[in-house]
Symmetry: C2
């Protein structure tokens, strides 16, 4: 059996009891290490699980899938994924390879950023399409995520923006010389993502476009969701562009229409006392006891 086991979002203890039992009993345990990170490292997981973990980077999952599947028809192999195995990134390719090879698989679910963002108080069923915001370079500055956010906002929906992760990237020079030397990992911050969005807003304004977003649009920055030191800040897009939420991972939400109860929840994490002024809150008498 090939087990896909979600690790949740915080630390070693965010695995489910069922997941932990399976990890302890599998013959080999892989840790998918290229689409997300926990706030603790591989060593902490190995110590807590009492198991050696084999790091599975993108190359390995894509090029050495047979090695991961080896023997999974007669013994148990675990493939650990931060968040949920079918969260922001799916592992359909590995599932299909397993099924094609006659190997059964099972999924042990866990929280992922796709549902845990609900903790900021915005209702999950009011989210539209999720978008990814990638690091711009000097020559590659895609704006397509802005258009998706616009479509969501036109329907009144919130947009969860997943922020870029660069792990095991090679510099152009090292790539051309075939040197397996990697750059330090980079994780996009809420501030960087907001800055890129503000640039697009400016570009569109200069083109005379109908603006879907402005400097004043209410957004929510989230960092290390599910960890002890998680941070949530609600404010205008301009405010978030100068907001430091600390270490990775970060996510950004661009809000759509806000329900009064959502406004009340966002006030709990407002950047400044007046950041959300002018928004209609729920009848405050509801919550006084």
């Amino acid at each position: 059996m090939l087990y896909f086991i979600g690790l949740g979002l915080g630390d070693a203890k965010d695995i489910t009891v069922k997941g932990l039992e399976i990890v302890k009993q599998c013959s080999r345990v892989y840790l998918e290490a290229y689409t997300s990170i926990l706030t603790v490292g591989k060593d902490a997981l190995e110590e807590y699980y009492g198991r050696e973990l084999i790091l599975a980077d993108r190359d390995m999952v894509e090029q050495e899938a047979d090695e991961i599947l080896r023997g999974a028809d007669i013994s148990d192999v675990a493939f650990l994924v931060v968040g949920d195995p079918f969260g922001a990134t799916t592992h359909s390719d590995l599932v299909l390879r397993a099924v094609n090879a006659g190997i059964q698989y099972r999924v042990i679910h866990n929280a992922s950023i796709m549902n845990a963002v609900g903790c900021c108080g915005l209702q999950l069923y009011n989210f539209g399409e999720t978008v990814s915001i990638v690091f711009w370079t000097d020559t590659w500055r895609p704006e397509s995520f802005y258009d998706k956010i616009k479509k969501n906002r036109d329907l009144g929906m919130h947009t969860l923006c997943l922020l870029d992760i660069k792990v095991k990237e090679q510099s152009m020079e090292n790539l051309m010389r075939g040197r397996k030397v990697y750059e330090p990992p980079r994780y996009m911050t809420v501030s960087q993502a907001s800055g890129q969005l503000l640039e697009i807003v400016n570009n569109r304004r200069n083109r005379g476009d109908d603006l879907a977003i402005s400097e004043e649009t209410i957004c929510v920055g989230l960092a290390r969701v599910g960890a002890e030191d998680q941070a949530i800040r609600a404010g205008t897009l301009s405010q978030l562009a100068t907001c430091d939420l600390g270490g990775p991972l970060h996510s950004l939400i661009v809000t759509g229409n806000l329900h009064p109860l959502e406004v009340d929840m966002l006030r709990l994490s407002a950047v400044t006392a007046d950041a959300l002024q002018g928004l209609r809150a729920a009848d405050s008498s509801t919550y006084t006891s």
Copy 2:
């Protein structure tokens, strides 16, 4: 501290290790019991956790919130929620009451249907707004969810449809006589939801509307996601209307544009061998080893 702890979707062991440790140490433990169910009952949870659970139905959470919060400023109280505490249903009201009363709170996340549906192979970031399908009565047959599905499909997005749950409902007679006698719980099936959708398709066709959905639209029925006996069936809306997926809870997905890799995954759970014929699959050579 007031802890909101997600229980995940399957059985007692789907709680996280962190969540279980907190449950064992809290002075009182409530179980929210009106928006979802596990495949195991309260007794099984109590036995596994080694703790007595206080059932918190909707009346209690809405009218006796102070009792739930009592003492949470000086001791620890846990509020258990099937799935994630901020999944399909949020508990913002209880959070706000706690904060207003000077009580700190913390969320222990888990899988919810909102992210676990990814196990069927459809990519979570291609989902639009989530909708609820309610039980029709003789006199109340709302069609608004159809229009939301249409909006999603117009953008090429999938739609997760959460299906109605009727727990602790009173008959009109018992309600009028003030008798606290409750009807047996009812959980909408994929077949029932598909049937209601087909009726709306017919109504709209008779009105001459531009159809967003037809009998041939590819849908996915899911039952008991995350449990050992979970069932997933992909097929046309007509096929799902006659498909028996067994006990609760059920969910239905109306697909939008399908990526070839999504098609490959749906084939694994096709109602019939030819249910998904005509859809373009990914290059099958990708998965042969």
